[in-house]
Subunit: 198 residues, 2 copies
DNA sequence: GCTTAACTGCACCGATCGGTACGGCTAAGC
DNA sequence: GCTTAGCCGTACCGATCGGTGCAGTTAAGC
């Protein structure tokens, strides 16, 4: 994401094509979906020659995989690594994401869910990455839940992760924001799972 | 679904091709996804000539739309129309679905979520159908919630619908059943939303 | 200023996509 | 037994897909 990141093996690069490609992937795979985005289209958006794409990444599948690997590698650090919030507030902050940028009127679909739906082969590396990410989110929630003193942190973590996924999928299906609903559910679950309550 | 349903306008039919086509749609769109299923492939699975498909349905888009329109037209009647269950039990029954048939080891993805993800145009008829269905599910839950005496039936209905969608999406992403987790969430939400409790 | 290589532009490949044309078969209804 | 029409089989269409070849341009590092 830094505009001067090194290539695959510290290669020299003329003008950072790799980053533009990944940027265009984020843009197009996110808005139009993976299968509805052609490589020509992607090259045009990245202002990059087709040849360059296949030089950096081996092919579309590997580009998709790499795109997902780059996406949120630390699993929502802007939520779970905030030291200024209590564990409970951190859990709730996950449901209080960037509020609707003008171009999109609703929160875009989680790219991992998108990949899991669009790629039918469960053994595909992108599917594996999606699997790992989803488990990582649950683990992050569980960690915060443990700090908050939840009776069963693992269970609460899995529950909150599921609710977050529900918000993503349902927002897409309804084409209307549902994160607020999800936040209310989260609050209820947390209060119910933490003995002393607040 | 009845194996002798009439065609578009009560036509005569030699041997029920229309039903086989819709059956194959259910099979293939469900397992491999819409965009990953070719028309040739679908024709082969339905044991139907390509010509016949385009005679019954105008094209792939319209077939997808019709497939979704046929799918669960009464919005889970096997759950919400059961007179032998209390409203609360009915709500919970929605999370206790057909338990993992051998070929699939997990609950398949909700076809409406699939369509909402695979089709990027929000104005596509299939997307509209998905939208309507998802609202219908929430309304069904809300109806049961009202009967159960929930404080805010509409809210609880929307919450339970979101949790159900979360289970569908997350089951796909993890490739492991998550309906149990969803059921636990549902129970918590219901107990919290119904004043007298059980 | 030379080397080196990332990057470009375009033409092109085979495969597959959704969709159509056409001629022939078969079974229901009178 | 004739009509009627749902259905078949195949060959084929143009478009687009992911991916490659090749000659040429640009810019960083020494």
């Amino acid at each position: 994401m830094t505009d001067l990141e090194k290539g695959p093996r510290g290669l020299r690069r003329g003008r950072g094509a790799r980053e533009r490609i990944l940027g265009a992937s984020r843009e197009l795979f996110g808005s139009r979906g993976i299968n509805n985005t052609g490589m020509d289209e992607l090259c045009a958006a990245a202002q990059v020659s087709k040849h360059t794409v296949y030089q950096h990444f081996g092919g579309k599948d590997q580009l998709v995989t790499e795109f997902l690997r780059q996406h949120d590698p630390d699993t929502m650090p802007d939520v779970f690594d905030r030291a200024d919030l209590t564990p409970r507030e951190r859990m709730l902050a996950a449901f209080d994401r960037p509020s609707t940028v003008p171009p999109r009127d609703v929160t875009p679909l989680c790219p991992f869910i998108g990949a899991a739906v669009e790629i039918s082969d469960p053994e595909h590396p992108a599917r594996r990455r999606a699997h790992d990410y989803k488990e990582a989110v649950a683990a992050r929630f569980a960690e915060a839940a443990r700090e908050a003193g939840a009776t069963d942190p693992e269970l609460l973590g899995e529950q909150l992760a599921l609710v977050l996924d529900g918000a993503s999928a349902r927002t897409r299906a309804l084409n209307a924001e549902t994160l607020g609903t999800a936040a209310a559910i989260a609050a209820t679950l947390i209060d119910q799972a933490v003995p002393v309550a607040r």
